[in-house]
């Protein structure tokens, strides 16, 4: 009597669950196919073309037509612009995140936060376009260089990672229990002492995650920096020099790489490297979060 008079609902339930599960499985399939494809294509440089991984990672000459596949200029370029962005945009973003969580009166926060969310939504080409029409001429006039180069790209990227860092930093600060705030203030600490000695240390793993995800955002950015970086496939020796990054080189060369050519294989190796960096950042985030709890 209790069992089985809801057969129809039951069948729907299991059909629905099967659908939901297959939609979820699509994620696993996607990442596995993506990783598989990129690993397959990205290792052909070493397995089919017999280039050494050492050359790919450390050689400064990238000229696949003549068989030289050193990606060091791009790796250094990516690391540099990302480092620049996080060195400038990181502290700034953290500060603004702390501000929103701890200092901003609700009305000020309500007015300012939509602005930050607009920043997130601005397409990267628009940042690139602004860099191209505003920043590059400015730097050219101020320094006498071409204006294209690491400095321009670094500044553009700093701005682009701000919203990510700000919102994650704010979230990290907000989960710190109020009792800590009250406890510190009750001991006679000033607001700044409370923030710097109690709240920031308490939120440090969340703040670290904010910075790490800022790095992930920066290292994957392609067009905005491609437009202002100057795209010179050489190892840069100064802030004002043109350079190239992993992402921007892919943008430049991909369309013309003949299927199965060394060039295409090298570009896929670079894409694979980017993916591995991005995924190791995720693992790092997991590690930081796990250690904190």
């Amino acid at each position: 009597m209790i069992a089985g008079n809801a057969n129809n609902a039951h069948r729907n339930e299991s059909v629905a669950l099967a659908l939901l599960k297959s939609a979820s499985a699509f994620f696993i399939v996607s990442i596995v196919v993506l990783l598989g494809y990129l690993t397959f294509e990205g290792t052909k440089l070493f397995t089919v073309d017999h280039k050494s991984i050492f050359e790919f990672l450390f050689s400064p000459t990238f000229s696949p037509d003549t068989g030289q596949v050193g990606a060091a200029p791009f790796i250094l370029g990516s690391l540099f612009v990302t480092g620049f962005a996080i060195a400038v945009g990181g502290p700034f973003g953290l500060a603004v995140g702390v501000f929103f969580s701890e200092l901003a009166p609700p009305r000020v926060a309500a007015a300012m936060k939509p602005a930050i969310e607009v920043l997130v939504g601005i397409p990267s080409v628009v940042y690139g376009w602004l860099g191209l029409t505003l920043l590059v001429p400015l730097i050219r006039n101020m320094t006498g260089s071409t204006g294209f180069g690491l400095l321009s790209a670094g500044i553009v990227l700093s701005l682009m990672i701000l919203p990510t860092v700000i919102s994650l930093a704010e979230d990290a600060m907000r989960v710190v229990p109020n009792s800590l705030r009250e406890g510190s203030l009750a001991l006679g600490a000033t607001r700044w002492e409370t923030i710097s000695r109690v709240l920031v240390p308490a939120a440090r793993s969340g703040l670290a995650v904010a910075v790490i995800l800022g790095i992930a955002r920066a290292i994957g950015e392609a067009l905005a920096i491609q437009m202002v970086l100057g795209n010179s496939p050489t190892i840069p020796h100064g802030l004002l020099n043109a350079a190239s990054a992993l992402t921007s080189e892919i943008v430049m060369d991909m369309g013309g790489a003949i299927q199965g050519s060394v060039t295409q294989h090298a570009l896929f190796s670079m894409a694979l490297l980017l993916l591995l960096i991005a995924m190791s950042l995720i693992v790092l985030v997991k590690f930081v979060v796990r250690r904190a709890t």
Partner: protein, 280 residues
């Protein structure tokens, strides 16, 4: 539940059917050389005005892009400044000849250079215009990426086996090269006549904001190209994957036969050439 099932069926149907939906009319796609781009694009606009049932989309990307994409059947036409080697499936249609200028920022103070001097500049051995008798300005080399046919022609005709120094800027296309040379003091680069010259009443002149160099005293003019005195030129090719179909072949013929357009844009008709490529 039936509603739910209907939605699921629709979604599945959309997924299966979407790729099957075909064009209503004839479509021709072209990609490749940015040196040939002005001609193909202009021709496409004219051709479509006359044939409203034909859709032509044209993109650049560089000669190697054109060859790669036509080989992969991603486009119908692959435009190239250089010959596609070892790809027997590609059929070559020579459409015209293009000359290429060496162009500089107007402030460099140099009007003529020898081939050897050009090699020294582009190999990075000479780094200041002062060393060549010009202004005291750092030389900024602006290259095209490796996929560029213009770059291939330049290296082939001028560099004599030396590698390009790539520490300067790299620009995607003819248009961006010209924009970058205009705005960068000390800049030097190479680009197709169609990009460096403007034509008015049948007379062509150098585009405002840049300077064109003579090479060993020979000015970059159409006449000097046809007689073979000026070194940097090449045949412009349109490749198809196998023999073209009727529509594609008509469009190619339209480009080849439109001498007015070819002249107006700074290209040279193949029949006007007094030398052949092997003479170089």
């Amino acid at each position: 539940m039936s509603r739910f099932r209907a939605i699921a069926a629709l979604a599945a149907g959309a997924l299966v059917l979407a790729p099957q939906v075909a064009y209503a009319d004839t479509t021709i796609t072209a990609a490749g050389s940015t040196a040939l781009l002005p001609l193909v694009k202009s021709a496409a606009e004219l051709y479509q005005n006359a044939h409203s049932d034909i859709h032509i989309t044209v993109t650049g990307g560089g000669s190697n892009v054109g060859i790669a994409q036509v080989a992969a059947r991603a486009v119908d036409l692959g435009d190239s400044d250089v010959i596609a080697r070892n790809q027997p499936e590609l059929v070559d249609h020579k459409v015209c000849v293009a000359g290429f200028s060496v162009l500089t920022h107007p402030g460099v103070g140099v009007k003529n250079l020898g081939k050897k001097q050009l090699q020294d500049i582009f190999a990075g051995k000479v780094t200041n215009w002062k060393q060549l008798g010009g202004a005291d300005t750092k030389i900024v080399i602006i290259n095209r990426p490796r996929t560029s046919g213009t770059r291939g022609v330049f290296v082939h005709t001028i560099m004599g086996g030396q590698a390009l120094n790539e520490s300067g800027l790299t620009e995607d296309a003819t248009g961006t090269v010209i924009a970058a040379v205009k705005s960068t003091p000390g800049a030097i680069s190479y680009a197709v006549f169609a990009g460096t010259k403007t034509s008015k009443d049948g007379h062509s002149s150098t585009l405002e904001g840049i300077a064109e160099l003579s090479i060993d005293g020979v000015a970059p003019t159409e006449e000097n190209v046809t007689t073979g005195k000026y070194p940097i030129w090449s045949y412009e090719h349109i490749y198809t994957h196998g023999p073209p179909n009727k529509d594609v072949s008509r469009f190619i013929a339209f480009i080849q036969s439109n001498s007015k357009l070819v002249h107006q844009l700074g290209y040279i008709l193949t029949r006007d050439m007094k030398v052949t490529e092997t003479d170089r």
